[in-house]
Symmetry: C2
DNA sequence: CAAATAGTGTCTCTAAGACACTATCAT
DNA sequence: ATGATAGTGTCTTAGAGACACTATTTG
Protein backbone atom coordinates (compact mmCIF):
# COMPACT_ATOMS: atom_id res chain seq x y z
CA UNK A 1 0.00 0.00 0.00
CA UNK A 2 1.41 3.39 -0.86
CA UNK A 3 0.96 6.47 1.25
CA UNK A 4 -1.57 7.81 -1.23
CA UNK A 5 -3.69 4.64 -1.14
CA UNK A 6 -3.45 4.60 2.62
CA UNK A 7 -4.70 8.15 2.95
CA UNK A 8 -7.74 7.27 0.79
CA UNK A 9 -8.76 4.48 3.14
CA UNK A 10 -7.92 6.36 6.30
CA UNK A 11 -10.62 7.40 8.76
CA UNK A 12 -9.70 10.15 11.23
CA UNK A 13 -12.48 8.99 13.53
CA UNK A 14 -10.33 5.96 14.38
CA UNK A 15 -8.22 8.19 16.60
CA UNK A 16 -9.32 9.55 19.99
CA UNK A 17 -10.56 13.11 19.43
CA UNK A 18 -9.67 15.75 21.98
CA UNK A 19 -10.06 19.46 22.16
CA UNK A 20 -6.83 21.42 21.98
CA UNK A 21 -6.67 24.87 23.54
CA UNK A 22 -4.07 27.51 24.27
CA UNK A 23 -3.77 29.15 27.68
CA UNK A 24 -2.19 32.58 27.63
CA UNK A 25 0.12 34.07 30.21
CA UNK A 26 0.75 37.76 29.71
CA UNK A 27 3.49 39.13 31.93
CA UNK A 28 4.38 42.74 32.53
CA UNK A 29 6.41 44.59 35.15
CA UNK A 30 4.76 47.29 37.25
CA UNK A 31 5.72 48.79 40.59
CA UNK A 32 8.90 46.78 40.59
CA UNK A 33 7.06 43.49 40.42
CA UNK A 34 6.22 40.94 37.80
CA UNK A 35 2.48 40.90 37.08
CA UNK A 36 0.20 38.57 35.17
CA UNK A 37 -3.00 39.41 33.31
CA UNK A 38 -6.20 37.70 34.45
CA UNK A 39 -9.58 38.08 32.75
CA UNK A 40 -13.04 37.48 34.14
CA UNK A 41 -14.54 34.41 32.48
CA UNK A 42 -17.60 35.28 30.40
CA UNK A 43 -18.66 31.66 29.91
CA UNK A 44 -19.08 28.51 31.91
CA UNK A 45 -17.37 26.82 33.60
CA UNK A 46 -16.06 29.08 36.39
CA UNK A 47 -18.05 31.94 34.87
CA UNK A 48 -17.35 35.25 36.57
CA UNK A 49 -14.08 34.12 38.08
CA UNK A 50 -10.75 35.60 37.12
CA UNK A 51 -8.55 33.21 35.15
CA UNK A 52 -5.98 33.09 32.39
CA UNK A 53 -7.30 34.03 28.97
CA UNK A 54 -7.43 31.15 26.52
CA UNK A 55 -9.09 29.89 23.40
CA UNK A 56 -9.64 26.67 21.52
CA UNK A 57 -7.35 25.94 18.62
CA UNK A 58 -9.22 25.89 15.33
CA UNK A 59 -8.79 23.07 12.88
CA UNK A 60 -7.17 25.31 10.32
CA UNK A 61 -4.76 27.30 12.44
CA UNK A 62 -1.42 26.40 13.98
CA UNK A 63 -0.79 26.56 17.72
CA UNK A 64 1.23 29.74 17.32
CA UNK A 65 -1.56 31.33 15.29
CA UNK A 66 -4.15 30.36 17.89
CA UNK A 67 -2.04 31.89 20.65
CA UNK A 68 -1.52 35.12 18.72
CA UNK A 69 -5.24 35.32 17.98
CA UNK A 70 -6.06 34.66 21.64
CA UNK A 71 -3.80 37.44 22.84
CA UNK A 72 -5.37 39.77 20.30
CA UNK A 73 -8.97 38.88 21.11
CA UNK A 74 -8.78 38.40 24.86
CA UNK A 75 -5.97 40.68 25.91
CA UNK A 76 -6.00 43.30 23.20
CA UNK A 77 -2.34 42.84 22.41
CA UNK A 78 -0.18 42.05 19.44
CA UNK A 79 3.39 40.90 19.65
CA UNK A 80 5.42 37.76 19.69
CA UNK A 81 4.34 34.75 21.69
CA UNK A 82 6.34 31.88 23.10
CA UNK A 83 5.21 28.37 23.80
CA UNK A 84 6.52 26.96 27.06
CA UNK A 85 4.67 23.74 27.92
CA UNK A 86 1.66 21.52 27.33
CA UNK A 87 -0.87 20.57 29.96
CA UNK A 88 -2.89 17.39 29.62
CA UNK A 89 -4.06 16.04 32.96
CA UNK A 90 -7.25 14.02 32.75
CA UNK A 91 -9.28 16.25 35.04
CA UNK A 92 -7.98 19.67 34.17
CA UNK A 93 -11.25 20.71 32.51
CA UNK A 94 -14.64 19.46 33.74
CA UNK A 95 -16.22 19.63 30.29
CA UNK A 96 -14.18 17.12 28.36
CA UNK A 97 -10.67 16.04 27.62
CA UNK A 98 -8.81 19.22 26.79
CA UNK A 99 -5.11 19.38 26.15
CA UNK A 100 -3.86 22.92 26.52
CA UNK A 101 -0.69 24.45 25.20
CA UNK A 102 0.79 27.18 27.40
CA UNK A 103 1.89 30.37 25.66
CA UNK A 104 3.53 33.40 27.15
CA UNK A 105 3.66 37.00 25.93
CA UNK A 106 5.51 39.96 27.40
CA UNK A 107 4.45 43.55 27.22
CA UNK A 108 5.51 46.89 28.67
CA UNK A 109 3.03 48.03 31.31
CA UNK A 110 1.79 50.97 29.22
CA UNK A 111 0.54 48.66 26.47
CA UNK A 112 -1.72 46.52 28.66
CA UNK A 113 -5.31 47.77 28.54
CA UNK A 114 -7.23 47.06 31.75
CA UNK A 115 -10.91 47.14 32.68
CA UNK A 116 -13.20 45.72 35.32
CA UNK A 117 -12.93 42.35 33.59
CA UNK A 118 -9.21 42.53 32.95
CA UNK A 119 -6.71 43.02 35.70
CA UNK A 120 -3.06 42.61 36.58
CA UNK A 121 -2.03 40.78 39.71
CA UNK A 122 1.50 40.43 41.12
CA UNK A 123 3.37 37.15 40.73
CA UNK A 124 5.62 36.19 43.62
CA UNK A 125 7.85 33.15 43.14
CA UNK A 126 5.57 32.05 40.33
CA UNK A 127 2.35 32.40 42.31
CA UNK A 128 -0.33 34.96 41.43
CA UNK A 129 -1.26 37.11 44.44
CA UNK A 130 -3.71 39.76 45.47
CA UNK A 131 -3.62 42.04 48.53
CA UNK A 132 -4.45 39.13 50.82
CA UNK A 133 -2.09 36.48 49.51
CA UNK A 134 -1.96 33.72 46.91
CA UNK A 135 -4.96 33.58 44.59
CA UNK A 136 -6.97 30.45 43.98
CA UNK A 137 -7.41 30.08 40.24
CA UNK A 138 -9.71 27.74 38.33
CA UNK A 139 -8.53 24.73 36.31
CA UNK A 140 -4.76 24.22 36.50
CA UNK A 141 -4.03 27.87 35.87
CA UNK A 142 -1.84 28.25 38.95
CA UNK A 143 0.42 25.50 37.64
CA UNK A 144 0.49 27.11 34.19
CA UNK A 145 1.54 30.49 35.61
CA UNK A 146 4.25 28.87 37.68
CA UNK A 147 5.59 27.02 34.66
CA UNK A 148 5.59 30.19 32.57
CA UNK A 149 7.41 32.06 35.33
CA UNK A 150 10.11 29.41 35.59
CA UNK A 151 10.67 29.44 31.84
CA UNK A 152 10.86 33.22 31.80
CA UNK A 153 13.41 33.27 34.60
CA UNK A 154 15.48 30.43 33.13
CA UNK A 155 15.86 32.25 29.82
CA UNK A 156 16.49 35.67 31.29
CA UNK A 157 20.22 35.69 30.53
CA UNK A 158 20.18 33.44 27.49
CA UNK A 159 17.73 35.08 25.13
CA UNK A 160 16.39 38.45 24.12
CA UNK A 161 12.87 37.40 25.08
CA UNK A 162 12.65 39.42 28.31
CA UNK A 163 13.19 42.69 26.44
CA UNK A 164 9.54 42.42 25.46
CA UNK A 165 8.78 43.81 28.91
CA UNK A 166 10.34 47.14 27.97
CA UNK A 167 9.48 49.85 25.48
CA UNK A 168 11.45 49.86 22.26
CA UNK A 169 14.02 52.24 23.77
CA UNK A 170 14.90 51.94 27.43
CA UNK A 171 17.49 52.96 29.99
CA UNK A 172 19.82 50.60 31.79
CA UNK A 173 18.00 51.36 35.02
CA UNK A 174 14.69 50.23 33.51
CA UNK A 175 16.38 47.09 32.24
CA UNK A 176 17.82 46.41 35.67
CA UNK A 177 14.39 46.86 37.24
CA UNK A 178 12.99 44.24 34.88
CA UNK A 179 15.74 41.79 35.80
CA UNK A 180 15.24 42.48 39.50
CA UNK A 181 11.50 41.92 39.18
CA UNK A 182 11.99 38.56 37.46
CA UNK A 183 14.80 37.34 39.72
CA UNK A 184 13.14 38.82 42.78
CA UNK A 185 16.40 40.09 44.18
CA UNK A 186 18.36 43.32 43.94
CA UNK A 187 21.32 43.40 41.55
CA UNK A 188 24.64 45.16 41.77
CA UNK A 189 24.55 48.22 39.53
CA UNK A 190 28.12 48.39 38.16
CA UNK A 191 28.23 44.64 37.57
CA UNK A 192 24.87 44.64 35.84
CA UNK A 193 25.84 47.54 33.59
CA UNK A 194 29.19 46.04 32.61
CA UNK A 195 27.70 42.64 31.92
CA UNK A 196 24.88 43.90 29.72
CA UNK A 197 26.98 46.47 27.88
CA UNK A 198 29.59 43.81 27.10
CA UNK A 199 26.99 41.20 26.16
CA UNK A 200 26.36 42.62 22.72
CA UNK A 201 22.61 42.59 23.35
CA UNK A 202 22.29 46.37 23.46
CA UNK A 203 22.51 49.05 20.82
CA UNK A 204 22.71 52.69 21.98
CA UNK A 205 19.96 54.64 20.28
CA UNK A 206 21.78 57.92 20.84
CA UNK A 207 18.73 59.32 22.56
CA UNK A 208 18.30 59.97 26.25
CA UNK A 209 15.48 60.22 28.76
CA UNK A 210 13.31 63.33 28.80
CA UNK A 211 11.44 65.23 31.47
CA UNK A 212 13.39 64.12 34.52
CA UNK A 213 14.64 66.79 36.88
CA UNK A 214 17.97 65.05 37.15
CA UNK A 215 20.62 63.65 34.85
CA UNK A 216 18.94 61.85 31.94
CA UNK A 217 19.96 58.26 31.15
CA UNK A 218 21.19 57.04 27.79
CA UNK A 219 18.66 54.94 25.90
CA UNK A 220 19.29 51.57 24.31
CA UNK A 221 17.40 49.17 22.10
CA UNK A 222 17.82 45.44 21.52
CA UNK A 223 20.35 44.05 19.11
CA UNK A 224 18.12 41.56 17.34
CA UNK A 225 21.16 39.93 15.73
CA UNK A 226 22.45 38.77 19.10
CA UNK A 227 22.79 35.02 19.49
CA UNK A 228 23.79 33.06 22.56
CA UNK A 229 26.91 31.02 21.83
CA UNK A 230 26.53 28.78 24.85
CA UNK A 231 23.84 26.30 25.86
CA UNK B 1 -26.66 28.93 35.04
CA UNK B 2 -24.46 27.01 37.45
CA UNK B 3 -21.47 24.95 36.45
CA UNK B 4 -23.48 21.77 37.03
CA UNK B 5 -26.35 22.88 34.78
CA UNK B 6 -23.87 24.01 32.20
CA UNK B 7 -22.13 20.65 32.11
CA UNK B 8 -25.48 18.94 31.55
CA UNK B 9 -26.17 21.00 28.47
CA UNK B 10 -22.66 20.88 27.14
CA UNK B 11 -21.81 19.09 23.92
CA UNK B 12 -18.15 18.21 23.37
CA UNK B 13 -18.81 17.98 19.64
CA UNK B 14 -19.06 21.77 19.57
CA UNK B 15 -15.27 21.96 19.86
CA UNK B 16 -12.88 21.16 17.03
CA UNK B 17 -11.64 17.60 17.58
CA UNK B 18 -8.01 16.81 16.95
CA UNK B 19 -5.80 13.86 17.54
CA UNK B 20 -3.13 14.34 20.19
CA UNK B 21 0.03 12.27 20.02
CA UNK B 22 3.37 12.09 21.77
CA UNK B 23 6.64 11.94 19.85
CA UNK B 24 9.48 10.35 21.76
CA UNK B 25 13.13 11.33 21.68
CA UNK B 26 15.41 8.84 23.38
CA UNK B 27 18.94 10.08 23.80
CA UNK B 28 21.98 8.11 24.83
CA UNK B 29 25.72 8.67 24.63
CA UNK B 30 27.90 6.20 22.75
CA UNK B 31 31.36 6.53 21.25
CA UNK B 32 31.65 9.99 22.72
CA UNK B 33 28.63 11.27 20.83
CA UNK B 34 25.02 11.95 21.61
CA UNK B 35 22.75 9.49 19.81
CA UNK B 36 19.03 9.31 19.21
CA UNK B 37 16.84 6.24 18.80
CA UNK B 38 14.95 5.83 15.54
CA UNK B 39 12.49 3.02 14.79
CA UNK B 40 11.31 1.71 11.46
CA UNK B 41 7.66 2.63 10.95
CA UNK B 42 5.43 -0.42 10.81
CA UNK B 43 2.37 1.50 9.59
CA UNK B 44 1.48 4.08 7.03
CA UNK B 45 2.30 6.83 6.43
CA UNK B 46 6.04 6.69 5.77
CA UNK B 47 5.91 2.95 6.37
CA UNK B 48 9.34 1.35 6.42
CA UNK B 49 11.18 4.60 7.05
CA UNK B 50 13.11 5.29 10.20
CA UNK B 51 11.47 7.91 12.41
CA UNK B 52 10.93 8.87 16.02
CA UNK B 53 8.75 6.47 17.97
CA UNK B 54 5.40 7.90 18.95
CA UNK B 55 1.87 7.00 19.90
CA UNK B 56 -1.54 8.57 20.11
CA UNK B 57 -2.68 9.79 23.51
CA UNK B 58 -5.68 7.82 24.76
CA UNK B 59 -8.74 9.55 26.12
CA UNK B 60 -8.16 8.22 29.60
CA UNK B 61 -4.44 8.77 30.03
CA UNK B 62 -2.43 11.89 30.75
CA UNK B 63 0.30 13.13 28.43
CA UNK B 64 2.99 11.90 30.79
CA UNK B 65 1.36 8.48 30.97
CA UNK B 66 1.12 8.27 27.19
CA UNK B 67 4.79 9.15 26.87
CA UNK B 68 5.85 6.56 29.44
CA UNK B 69 3.70 3.93 27.71
CA UNK B 70 5.17 4.86 24.34
CA UNK B 71 8.73 4.49 25.56
CA UNK B 72 7.84 1.14 27.06
CA UNK B 73 6.04 -0.21 24.00
CA UNK B 74 8.17 1.23 21.22
CA UNK B 75 11.58 1.54 22.77
CA UNK B 76 11.50 -1.12 25.45
CA UNK B 77 12.49 1.27 28.18
CA UNK B 78 11.21 2.42 31.51
CA UNK B 79 12.36 5.52 33.30
CA UNK B 80 11.43 9.12 33.72
CA UNK B 81 10.30 11.21 30.79
CA UNK B 82 10.38 14.93 30.26
CA UNK B 83 8.11 17.03 28.12
CA UNK B 84 9.89 19.73 26.17
CA UNK B 85 7.54 21.21 23.54
CA UNK B 86 4.35 20.86 21.53
CA UNK B 87 4.17 20.70 17.75
CA UNK B 88 1.04 21.72 15.94
CA UNK B 89 1.70 22.88 12.40
CA UNK B 90 -1.21 22.38 10.06
CA UNK B 91 0.60 20.07 7.67
CA UNK B 92 2.80 18.09 9.99
CA UNK B 93 0.82 14.87 9.47
CA UNK B 94 -0.81 14.06 6.12
CA UNK B 95 -3.62 12.04 7.72
CA UNK B 96 -5.40 14.65 9.77
CA UNK B 97 -4.81 17.43 12.23
CA UNK B 98 -2.45 15.99 14.81
CA UNK B 99 -0.97 17.98 17.65
CA UNK B 100 2.05 16.21 19.05
CA UNK B 101 3.71 16.68 22.40
CA UNK B 102 7.46 16.14 22.40
CA UNK B 103 8.89 13.99 25.20
CA UNK B 104 12.47 13.12 25.89
CA UNK B 105 14.00 10.22 27.80
CA UNK B 106 17.63 9.55 28.63
CA UNK B 107 19.24 6.18 29.00
CA UNK B 108 22.70 4.71 29.46
CA UNK B 109 23.84 3.03 26.26
CA UNK B 110 23.77 -0.47 27.77
CA UNK B 111 20.03 -0.23 28.45
CA UNK B 112 18.97 0.54 24.88
CA UNK B 113 17.93 -2.63 23.05
CA UNK B 114 18.55 -2.44 19.31
CA UNK B 115 17.40 -4.54 16.34
CA UNK B 116 17.05 -4.22 12.60
CA UNK B 117 14.01 -2.01 13.20
CA UNK B 118 15.53 0.00 16.00
CA UNK B 119 18.77 1.90 15.66
CA UNK B 120 20.80 4.68 17.18
CA UNK B 121 22.13 7.48 15.03
CA UNK B 122 24.48 10.29 16.09
CA UNK B 123 23.12 13.77 16.69
CA UNK B 124 25.41 16.62 15.70
CA UNK B 125 24.33 20.13 16.64
CA UNK B 126 20.81 18.83 17.06
CA UNK B 127 20.68 17.09 13.67
CA UNK B 128 20.42 13.31 13.31
CA UNK B 129 23.15 11.93 11.06
CA UNK B 130 24.25 8.71 9.46
CA UNK B 131 27.59 7.86 7.84
CA UNK B 132 26.83 10.09 4.87
CA UNK B 133 25.51 13.17 6.62
CA UNK B 134 22.25 14.65 7.92
CA UNK B 135 19.28 12.30 7.76
CA UNK B 136 15.99 13.21 6.14
CA UNK B 137 13.24 12.26 8.54
CA UNK B 138 9.48 12.09 7.92
CA UNK B 139 6.94 14.53 9.39
CA UNK B 140 8.57 17.28 11.46
CA UNK B 141 10.80 14.85 13.31
CA UNK B 142 14.01 16.71 12.49
CA UNK B 143 12.59 19.80 14.17
CA UNK B 144 11.48 17.76 17.18
CA UNK B 145 14.95 16.27 17.65
CA UNK B 146 16.55 19.68 17.38
CA UNK B 147 14.17 21.10 19.97
CA UNK B 148 14.85 18.20 22.35
CA UNK B 149 18.59 18.64 21.92
CA UNK B 150 18.41 22.35 22.71
CA UNK B 151 16.38 21.70 25.85
CA UNK B 152 18.78 18.99 26.96
CA UNK B 153 21.79 21.27 26.49
CA UNK B 154 20.11 24.27 28.13
CA UNK B 155 19.37 22.30 31.29
CA UNK B 156 22.70 20.52 31.47
CA UNK B 157 24.03 22.61 34.35
CA UNK B 158 20.73 23.45 36.01
CA UNK B 159 19.11 20.11 36.65
CA UNK B 160 19.93 16.53 37.42
CA UNK B 161 18.18 15.41 34.26
CA UNK B 162 21.31 14.59 32.26
CA UNK B 163 22.44 12.01 34.81
CA UNK B 164 19.90 9.70 33.19
CA UNK B 165 22.53 9.09 30.53
CA UNK B 166 24.77 7.33 33.05
CA UNK B 167 24.51 4.16 35.06
CA UNK B 168 23.48 4.54 38.66
CA UNK B 169 27.12 4.74 39.76
CA UNK B 170 29.62 6.47 37.50
CA UNK B 171 33.09 7.98 37.48
CA UNK B 172 33.85 11.64 36.99
CA UNK B 173 35.46 10.78 33.66
CA UNK B 174 32.21 9.19 32.43
CA UNK B 175 30.30 12.23 33.62
CA UNK B 176 32.69 14.52 31.80
CA UNK B 177 32.30 12.47 28.62
CA UNK B 178 28.52 12.93 28.81
CA UNK B 179 28.92 16.68 29.23
CA UNK B 180 31.38 16.82 26.36
CA UNK B 181 29.03 14.85 24.12
CA UNK B 182 26.14 17.20 24.83
CA UNK B 183 28.12 20.43 24.59
CA UNK B 184 30.13 19.10 21.67
CA UNK B 185 33.35 20.54 22.97
CA UNK B 186 36.18 19.31 25.20
CA UNK B 187 36.15 20.45 28.81
CA UNK B 188 38.97 21.27 31.17
CA UNK B 189 39.46 18.35 33.55
CA UNK B 190 40.44 20.06 36.84
CA UNK B 191 37.81 22.76 36.40
CA UNK B 192 35.11 20.24 35.58
CA UNK B 193 35.99 18.10 38.60
CA UNK B 194 36.07 21.03 41.02
CA UNK B 195 32.83 22.45 39.74
CA UNK B 196 30.88 19.20 39.99
CA UNK B 197 32.37 18.09 43.28
CA UNK B 198 31.48 21.48 44.79
CA UNK B 199 28.03 21.57 43.19
CA UNK B 200 26.48 19.23 45.72
CA UNK B 201 25.04 17.10 42.93
CA UNK B 202 27.31 14.13 43.61
CA UNK B 203 27.44 11.59 46.38
CA UNK B 204 30.51 9.33 46.59
CA UNK B 205 29.35 5.73 46.63
CA UNK B 206 32.62 4.59 48.19
CA UNK B 207 33.08 2.10 45.37
CA UNK B 208 35.56 2.30 42.53
CA UNK B 209 35.90 1.04 39.00
CA UNK B 210 36.81 -2.57 38.42
CA UNK B 211 38.74 -4.44 35.77
CA UNK B 212 40.87 -1.63 34.43
CA UNK B 213 44.61 -2.19 34.13
CA UNK B 214 45.27 1.23 35.56
CA UNK B 215 44.26 3.30 38.56
CA UNK B 216 40.55 2.82 39.20
CA UNK B 217 38.29 5.88 39.49
CA UNK B 218 36.05 6.67 42.43
CA UNK B 219 32.36 6.17 41.74
CA UNK B 220 29.58 8.63 42.45
CA UNK B 221 25.82 8.68 42.29
CA UNK B 222 23.34 11.55 42.03
CA UNK B 223 22.21 13.52 45.04
CA UNK B 224 18.49 13.52 44.31
CA UNK B 225 17.95 16.19 46.98
CA UNK B 226 19.94 18.72 44.99
CA UNK B 227 18.04 21.82 43.96
CA UNK B 228 19.21 24.69 41.81
CA UNK B 229 19.01 27.94 43.75
CA UNK B 230 19.36 30.17 40.74
CA UNK B 231 17.22 30.68 37.64
C1' DC C 1 59.09 -0.38 37.07
C1' DA C 2 56.28 0.65 32.91
C1' DA C 3 51.95 1.96 31.18
C1' DA C 4 47.96 4.22 31.66
C1' DT C 5 44.61 6.89 33.72
C1' DA C 6 43.02 9.20 38.36
C1' DG C 7 43.34 13.08 40.68
C1' DT C 8 45.71 17.69 42.40
C1' DG C 9 48.52 22.26 42.99
C1' DT C 10 49.43 26.50 41.09
C1' DC C 11 49.22 30.37 38.20
C1' DT C 12 46.60 33.33 35.39
C1' DC C 13 42.63 35.58 33.77
C1' DT C 14 37.96 37.00 33.76
C1' DA C 15 34.00 38.56 35.80
C1' DA C 16 31.05 39.66 39.70
C1' DG C 17 30.18 42.12 44.24
C1' DA C 18 30.98 46.06 47.26
C1' DC C 19 31.62 50.75 47.84
C1' DA C 20 32.66 55.06 47.01
C1' DC C 21 33.44 58.25 43.83
C1' DT C 22 32.56 61.66 39.74
C1' DA C 23 29.25 63.44 36.07
C1' DT C 24 25.22 65.76 34.45
C1' DC C 25 20.78 67.24 34.15
C1' DA C 26 16.49 70.61 35.88
C1' DT C 27 15.34 74.05 38.79
C1' DA D 1 24.42 75.65 44.20
C1' DT D 2 21.13 71.71 45.27
C1' DG D 3 18.98 67.48 44.62
C1' DA D 4 18.69 63.47 42.44
C1' DT D 5 20.05 59.94 39.58
C1' DA D 6 23.58 58.44 35.76
C1' DG D 7 27.58 56.33 35.22
C1' DT D 8 32.65 54.88 36.62
C1' DG D 9 37.20 53.34 39.09
C1' DT D 10 39.12 50.32 42.22
C1' DC D 11 39.68 46.67 45.32
C1' DT D 12 38.49 42.16 46.55
C1' DT D 13 36.87 37.59 45.76
C1' DA D 14 35.26 33.43 43.28
C1' DG D 15 35.68 30.46 39.69
C1' DA D 16 37.33 28.74 35.07
C1' DG D 17 41.21 27.48 31.93
C1' DA D 18 45.91 25.90 31.20
C1' DC D 19 49.53 23.01 32.39
C1' DA D 20 52.25 20.23 34.72
C1' DC D 21 52.64 17.60 38.42
C1' DT D 22 51.81 13.46 41.78
C1' DA D 23 49.12 9.08 42.93
C1' DT D 24 47.48 4.49 42.21
C1' DT D 25 46.41 0.60 40.02
C1' DT D 26 47.73 -3.92 36.91
C1' DG D 27 50.92 -6.78 34.91
Amino acid sequence: MTDAEFLESYDPADYPPMAVAVDLVLFTVAEGRLQVLLVRRAAQPARGQFALPGTFVRLRESLDQAAARGFREKAGLSGSVRQFAAFGSLDRDPRMRVVSIGYMALSPRRSVPLSTDRRLVPVVRGVAQDEHGPLTLPFDHAEIIRSAFLHLRADLDHSLWSFGLLEQAFSLRELQEVHEAIREQPLNKPAFRKRLLQSGKLIPTGGSEQGNRFRPAQLYSVNQDWRDEER
